[in-house]
Symmetry: C2
Subunit: 417 residues, 2 copies
């Protein structure tokens, strides 16, 4: 069996992203585009607002007009433009958002006017343009409105609607196949015989890939049997653009994933200097990325977070591929166990709760950090990055933390019922 | 028309949350529970792991056994337990994750052993329990696994699968009706006559409420006509639990929303001391919250963010209702315009891009901050909170910013293609 060198996590991520390409694009309806990334530049075809509009309730007037009393010759609500022209000595009652009538060049807000017998008097002079939103204030015709690569959230959806875009060109979403392996796993509705555990990775990886914007399909569960695993892998790669396997990547005799990936494609790495997730394997079959994730639930989710999620983000056209990292202060000491009597030779990613108080981030780990203990991820909003070569961290030491998705960082005064 | 006092934003939020109740619960399939909030305490019915398991590839032995060479009496893979008992003088070859055979109390990792002629010798002594994950290490039978109020993400979904939960009790999602108003609005596929603009709020509010976890329905568009608006409001409240209207809440003669809400229910406030969003109106009709959002696109989205989103989060059982707030340093001066010659009397929420560099958050506003300019929200990842009473902020001044959803805060070294 091939011996793979153990490479640093940063190098592993670079290799993954090098072998991951931005997907093609598709045209979707405006609603479907929510959460997607724009794949075309959107240029305004018309001014926005399309006409000079009043910013206040009041009177549309000519600023230079020195008349003391002006005849009110009409009323312009927000809505279709009425047919009237403002001339010296006249004014039009106008509402916020309504189009400024021709002739007028300013709005006197109603609070600064006095009305009597169908006429109005300004209590303060107005300047040309006062309380008028000029046409094109938000956007001038021909101006670039949204750039390629813009993630589409509520304001962007609103802006696209404003200019009448009903269909939008966006990057495609990757289709991800999840294939679990291992004789020890049973499905949720099957009885637990001695030695067996339930297949939780199927659901956890489905959830993680869904949250990352992928369209996830279940490619089945392979027993530790080469023929079955090969068949399921080939089938999965026929229908999906990305394959995630879980389990079968250690160096045991029944760890079949690495040899099969060597047979079907190119294995780019087979060991990463990290804990959890050392046996993580990354390959391409044709152009398709394949992640051989470790079987332990925590290892597979941490590897997903560090490598699969950035790849899926890249495929969807995102330019921000990584989570934010912040410096955190440890609220308790951490002692790592190395190999035998040596210092740890791998970066350890410990699950933690990060809290912000008075501008400082504090971190507390989520208890026992063994790879099988999924509970160490429950409620965690950060991953501490504890670099190789150091076995002990004191209370008060500053380390880097990756803030996870759920990480609206807990803050002292932000809880409210 | 009733005159409503202008209340501070903090008071407005308290009133909204006071009149918003957590919804009932429902039982859903495991997959459907992703992103929902747990409404039952989940207790482990069995130990997890369910059996003592090996943490390494190696040999299951009795730690106290002083035999030099041990007979290899079997091989235990991860999977069903084989029928063998370890006795002094014997060992069982074992793989990571495999159940520890009866009799054995420790695992010697393969790297610290020597094999010859069907026998194995330990190169280092082992302690009882060494490299064994005891049954119940992650979770003991009867232990509380997930508390009421836990948001369900990938690790929680994995944990629920681990213990065989195929259906989960979660809080219901609110059904939100969006009703737009105003004679000046046309639908996207209609021609833009002079004085008219497109109905963007329909889409922006749909997107915002969807992102907040609601099930959104379109309740139609009402012209500025009392009968039509009343009919659409009543219809919407028959099918939805929350009503959002946009437009028609200023004090103009055709601003019909406030009077109609007074007729149909109780108006709790009708003006908030903030910019944008001063005319925001909040009412309840029966038990159902109704938000009369201003018509300007920015005003309606900012009000959604500040008041509607927390209410929708509360309804779904979330305990964290507000976005994180951080202190930011202004990279440019900001001058606010007050009423006439007075200082600003409202809290101003300016849209900004917040960037983190070396542990400090920097904020830059997104250009012209007028309420109609939806572009001021595009790409914004923060809302600056500029308190009333102060008209000028210098470059370098520290103010509070609300970090928005999209706010994976831009960081210098975090962009990567």
């Amino acid at each position: 069996m091939t011996e793979y060198p153990m490479i640093p996590p940063e190098e592993a991520l670079c290799i993954v992203l090098e072998h991951t390409s931005v997907l093609g694009t598709e045209r979707v309806g405006l609603r479907e585009s929510l959460g997607r990334v724009l794949a075309e530049e959107v240029v305004a075809l018309e001014d926005m607002p399309p006409f000079p509009a009043s910013a206040k309730d009041g009177f549309a007037v000519i600023a230079a007009d020195r008349s003391v009393w002006r005849q009110i010759i009409g009323e312009q609500m927000a809505g279709p433009a009425i047919s009237v022209v403002v001339q010296p000595g006249t004014a039009v009652r106008i509402m916020t958002g309504a189009p400024l009538p021709p002739g007028a060049d300013a709005v006197a807000m109603v609070e600064h006017t006095e009305e009597a017998e169908g006429r109005v008097r300004l209590l303060r002079p107005v300047k040309p343009g006062q309380d008028v939103r000029p046409a094109g204030q938000d956007l001038a015709a021909g101006e670039r409105m949204l750039a390629v690569g813009t993630p589409l959230g509520p304001p962007e959806i609103g802006l696209l609607a404003t200019v009448g875009c009903t269909r939008v060109q966006v990057y495609r979403r990757p289709r991800v196949a999840v294939l679990t392996t291992g004789d020890e796993l049973v499905e949720l509705d099957q009885p637990l015989e001695p030695g067996l555990i339930r297949n939780s990775n199927r659901y956890a990886l489905w959830a993680a890939a869904s949250c990352a914007g992928a369209d996830v399909i279940w490619a089945g569960h392979a027993r530790d049997e080469e023929g079955e695993l090969r068949r399921l892998m080939i089938e999965a790669l026929e229908v999906a653009g990305v394959l995630l396997t879980s389990g079968g990547v250690s160096m045991g005799q029944r760890d079949l994933v690495k040899p099969l990936l060597e047979e079907l494609g190119i294995v780019h790495f087979g060991q990463v200097a990290q804990k959890p997730g050392k046996p993580l394997t990354f390959a391409t079959v044709g152009e398709k990325p394949v992640f051989g994730l470790p079987g332990f639930p925590v290892s597979s989710l941490v590897c997903f977070e560090l490598y699969v999620r950035p790849a899926l983000c890249k495929m969807q056209g995102h330019t921000r591929l990584q989570r934010p990292r912040v410096e955190v202060v440890l609220v308790h000491p951490i002692t790592l166990t190395g190999t035998g009597h040596h210092q740890p030779d791998r970066t350890e990613f410990q699950r933690a709760v990060v809290t912000e108080r008075e501008g400082v981030y504090w971190a507390e780990t989520t208890g026992l950090q063994v790879s099988g203990r999924l509970r160490s991820l429950v409620g965690a909003n950060g991953l501490l990055v504890l670099p190789a070569g150091r076995a002990h961290f004191d209370r008060g030491d500053v380390v880097t933390a990756i803030l996870l998705d759920r990480s609206e960082v807990e803050g002292g005064n932000e809880r409210m019922r």
